[in-house]
């Protein structure tokens, strides 16, 4: 019987998987991802953005495996690395765990992906916690235990979500490196795939870069010269010098995609209107964290309700459903700018407070978001065998700013009036920061 299968993919051409992985792909949590849009309501701006988390998950599995094969190829391992990671003797086991974890890394996503997850889940819950619970569920454990040799569910869960989102779990250095392959900040497979896939579907060129070259130059390296003044022998993901331009291109792609797509003001206000709708439509204003209920709700169910609610004013959530379905979204009144932030970095919040007093809370929304993941730095292996900091070797990486937004939106019915009001009062509203008693 055929054990290796393949599926066509617009980014990676063919993605191969074995029969055990096919069981995971055919499981309810993975099949559900066929009905979760990768970019929420972005298709209302970029009509091509109708791709789903399902194909992204397959892409992350494919890329994670390619990275793993390069990193663990004997020619690419230094003696120091072999010594620090005895787990390399169980390479086949960890490769299978990694592929399964990559496949499952998004199964906890709520309908419409990231939209307002913080407000729509009970306190302390995130989609990563749901991902972990599903991987550890009986339904999935049966699959892990049937693999030869059996896979430990907790290993898969750790790699799928990473130490950042599982602070209660102990990660070995090896597990940290493997989770970096999937969800790492510098060049994780998740990031590589979503940039390439999103730009492909949206029809924007910003997200493309030479990921083949980047992956080919990845290595596990000591972070010894990560820019500081002495050496630690701890090892992380880094690259050979020849991959530096590809790493720069990835960082630029991310910068442009955040600036032009992910943080586009109209995309953001649709997310907010969707959150407002869901807050009214869901029981107690929250999604359930029960796995059965989680698996039963997708974008399809929400969309169906949105369409009904938009049509009938008696339906729960009518106002915000109408705004989404009939494109009557709020408009930008104010966004962060250097001159105002020089006076007070809380300028947007100050204007929001005054605007609410003037026009009423229901007609104002503030959206603040900053790109996560800090200063991207990683070790670079130079031709002479010396390690250097990526940021020191690349002025592009050193200068690339974080992308942050503060958008203040108002009801489109009052945008003209609000703009006049702001023009007249802005100087009085934005005062230098003063300490509270």
């Amino acid at each position: 019987m055929k054990n290796i299968h393949e599926i066509r993919d617009p980014i990676h051409v063919f993605i191969k998987y074995d029969s055990d992985e096919r069981r995971v792909i055919n499981s309810r949590p993975l099949q559900r991802l066929r009905h979760i849009h990768q970019l929420a309501l972005t298709f209302l701006l970029y009509p091509g953005a109708t791709h789903r988390r399902f194909e992204h998950s397959l892409g992350v599995m494919e890329l994670s495996d390619r990275i793993f094969q390069i990193l663990t190829h004997d020619d690419n391992l230094k003696d120091q690395t072999k010594k620090q990671f005895p787990e390399l003797s169980q390479k086949d086991y960890w490769r299978r765990v990694l592929r399964m974890a990559a496949l499952c890394h998004d199964i906890g996503h709520l309908p419409f992906s990231h939209a307002a997850e913080k407000e729509l889940l009970p306190e302390g819950w995130t989609h990563e916690k749901l991902t972990r619970d599903i991987i550890l569920s009986q339904e999935m454990k049966e699959i892990w235990e049937d693999v030869t040799p059996p896979l430990r569910a907790i290993d898969i869960a750790k790699l799928a979500i990473g130490p950042d989102k599982a602070p209660d779990l102990d990660f070995t250095n090896w597990e940290t490196v493997l989770s970096e392959i999937i969800v790492g900040d510098a060049f994780g497979a998740d990031r590589i795939d979503y940039l390439l896939r999103d730009s492909h579907h949206l029809g924007v060129a910003y997200g493309k870069f030479d990921h083949y070259r980047l992956i080919d130059t990845m290595r596990i390296l000591p972070a010894s010269k990560l820019g500081e003044d002495d050496e630690s022998e701890e090892q992380f993901l880094g690259i050979k010098k020849g991959g530096l331009q590809s790493a720069e291109a990835l960082s630029l792609a991310r910068y442009f995609m955040y600036s032009q797509v992910y943080l586009h003001s109209v995309r953001r206000i649709y997310d907010i209107h969707l959150r407002d709708f869901l807050t009214e439509w869901l029981d107690n204003g929250k999604f359930s964290t029960d796995i059965e209920r989680h698996l039963s709700i997708t974008d399809s169910e929400v969309t169906s309700s949105l369409r009904k609610a938009a049509k009938y004013s008696s339906k729960i959530g009518h106002e915000f459903a109408n705004r989404i379905m009939n494109r009557k979204h709020f408009k930008v009144l104010y966004e962060r700018n250097p001159a105002d932030y020089d006076i007070n970095t809380e300028a947007a919040s100050l204007i929001k407070k005054s605007a609410e007093e003037k026009f009423g809370k229901n007609r104002i929304r503030l959206d603040s978001y900053a790109q996560k993941s800090g200063f991207i730095n990683f070790p670079v292996l130079q031709r002479d065998g010396i390690f250097a900091s990526g940021v020191s070797m690349s002025s592009i990486l050193a200068q690339l700013p974080a992308v942050a937004i503060d958008y203040l939106f108002v009801d489109s019915d009052i945008i003209k009036e609000a703009k006049k009001w702001l023009h007249k009062n802005k100087r009085d509203i934005i005062k230098p920061y003063g300490e509270e008693e």
Binding site: N173, E231, A388, S392
Partner: protein, 190 residues
């Protein structure tokens, strides 16, 4: 502690570290803030886990670039092979002057930690930070047991190095915390 106060503490710490001879790389800032929270109980809203070079806060990692974006701190690029360090900008200095109460409230604690951390190198900070993290998180009195646990979690730190670090941390805690403070010394790890 609100976001502005947190920024004051980070800027003041960066300033004090520089005065105490620190390289002021991101790792130094990470460990210094951890020590400040764990030993001096400064209530910064940064959670730490054992990660790169010991205790590490993803919250703080995300916080620093925003402070740079707002012009309060900046990155200094150093010659290859060394990596970047951080410095306080003129705007950061101006911001401190707008917040004299917060500066006064935390100045002594910040200076204490800066004196302790300032002259230490990354590898030493990694060992000490990990030792402090394990000491406060695990209820293990025996020094060798704690050292072995450190070696298990961070295999590149030998048991001998870990033992020395654990002893140093015990000395630090004993000398600078009252018995009552010591009993309550704890860190949030989640």
């Amino acid at each position: 502690m609100n976001n502005q106060q947190q920024r004051v503490v980070v800027i003041k710490l960066l300033d004090a570290l520089k005065k105490n001879g620190s390289w002021c790389g991101e790792t130094h800032i990470q460990k210094a803030v951890f020590f400040l929270k764990a030993i001096k109980k400064v209530p910064v809203d940064f959670n730490f886990i054992l990660y790169k070079h010991g205790p590490f806060s993803f919250d703080l990692r995300d916080h620093l670039p925003l402070m740079r974006l707002d012009g309060l701190i900046d990155m200094v690029i150093n010659p290859i092979p060394y990596g970047p360090s951080l410095k306080v900008t003129d705007r950061g200095e101006k911001f401190l002057k707008q917040c004299p109460k917060t500066v006064k409230k935390y100045k002594d604690k910040v200076n204490f930690i800066a004196r302790f951390v300032g002259s230490k190198k990354v590898a030493e900070l990694e060992r000490l930070g990990t030792a402090l993290y394990i000491t406060l998180k695990e209820d293990i009195k025996d020094i060798r047991k704690r050292a072995r646990l450190i070696n298990k979690k961070k295999s590149h730190i030998s048991v001998e190095e870990a033992t020395f670090a654990v002893k140093s941390i015990d000395d630090l805690l004993n000398s600078h915390l009252t018995r009552e403070e010591n009993n309550h010394a704890n860190i949030e790890t989640a």
